[in-house]
Symmetry: C2
Subunit: 321 residues, 2 copies
Amino acid sequence: MQKKTFALGVDLGGTSIKTGVVDKSGKILDQISVDSKASKGPPAVIQQIIFTIQHFMGKYGEPKCMGIGIGAPGVVSVEEGLVKHPPNFAKWEEVALAKAVRKATTLPIFVENDANVAAIAEAKYGVGIEHKDFLFVIWGSGVGGGIIFDRKIFRGPSGGAGEIGHVTIDYNGPVCNCGNRGCIEAYIGQRYLSERTKEILESQPEDATLSKIIRLAEGNLNKIDPYLISMAAEQGDPIAREVFEEAGKLLGYALASVLNILDLRIVVMGGGVSAAPQYVYMEMETSLCSRILKPNRAAVHIVRSRLGNSAGMIGAASLVM
Amino acid sequence: MQKKTFALGVDLGGTSIKTGVVDKSGKILDQISVDSKASKGPPAVIQQIIFTIQHFMGKYGEPKCMGIGIGAPGVVSVEEGLVKHPPNFAKWEEVALAKAVRKATTLPIFVENDANVAAIAEAKYGVGIEHKDFLFVIWGSGVGGGIIFDRKIFRGPSGGAGEIGHVTIDYNGPVCNCGNRGCIEAYIGQRYLSERTKEILESQPEDATLSKIIRLAEGNLNKIDPYLISMAAEQGDPIAREVFEEAGKLLGYALASVLNILDLRIVVMGGGVSAAPQYVYMEMETSLCSRILKPNRAAVHIVRSRLGNSAGMIGAASLVM
């Protein structure tokens, strides 16, 4: 019998599917990225996932693979391998993803929520080396989270724990996608950051002409998104800086509530926007420390994810191991 | 050898110490209440606790007792039996309570936070009979909480989980005792409810003369506290009703954030103010349901503590069992 040396980790995203060959030490040995075809409906997406799996089975041989882990957006029912309502996926209500993929392979298959998967990867192979308890935050188009206690994921009674994007910071605040008011996601999610930036640019037309944001967007304000603002911020653009500092401060307020409830001190930032400049982290930490219960302040620390964009693949693979 | 038939549960409060003889089914067989002497410093308080213990040891005999559990306010370090900074206790920084009480008895002694103890009692002998996962809320002079997962208390990495009184509902809100702004406790804790009521009474002098609150307070506005407001509310006083409805609505907003993070649906209300009229519960449930994530709404339910004021003693005793 051949020795099993790797697991496959599938990171299912709204734009692309990234699948990695991951060894027992959490190292990515090989990887592939394909269009997720999210707008085409579940069968097309599943076909793409299976394509990446068969690609590596052909290349390395199924007998050497321990199994397949999949990190998926939306609400995931771990036991049944169900994925419900992933945002940005068309015609996707409730899909038995594990069952569908199992038709293409005899290997064991595990499915877990994408934020949890990334948190698991950090706990096993990243920041978790120093910290056994932390809140993992994904700041991208929305705001999500995963809770790590004693280096293990904390799912809550029905797998939905860690929905930190829907923590309220002002009960009279703006309406969020979820229907609630004043959720932190309604302040710092992709849509808000882009709109806030446009607002400032439009209210200060003299500055706007000099703005690096507008240059990066080639004059088209509708092209503005958090990644573009982030690039402008790195190039020293003052409006980008203002938007991000404000966002960081507000996120700090939300984190204070969460850390107080969960008895945590360490925050690990992942997701696209977490690549923001250091001054954003300083704003976050300052506002968090000003709001968290006093006895906990000294130990508070916000750090960047150590695995970055690979956390999804590594964490998914580690579901198998 | 005599059969061990009961445990002692000590409920240490700022005003009184209630100690109960509790059997294995969670029934209180006998109880005593003494002044806690909280203003006299730790040695006086400890002496009072020991007095209640010796009272029952004399009455029933130490050999029949399984041990002693103590529920204490403040931050409790369960392993060491330490109690830190209990509010309303003079000259009390950090006291090794278990060690101090152990000098008076050879029985095993356990110490736990008072909110956690009450939550444990509900989980074992109260609402927990139907619900295995819930948030226990103590609404009294402040707002505290205990988290029950799978009928067990969830303490967090260092025993501080469940500090729901310091969840922010408005980051620009009023300053709380903890130094933060807009904590739910700063809206619905004893001080706020009393001040809010006084404000309304003073702004509506013609209603004030008819107010049941003023009659209950014998004309002295400084006598107004939540229990008095609660009594007036039960008698149909409209100002008391207004204050409580507003408080219930705001608490619902805070609970939405907490339930979203913890993946919980059931809230159990304990503490003095939880005896408020049913319309307060309706306000709470309505605002909570309007704010919690949609898929969780149908299962949301707020219920009253079933053990009431006895939860502290029963839960403390059950630490032993």
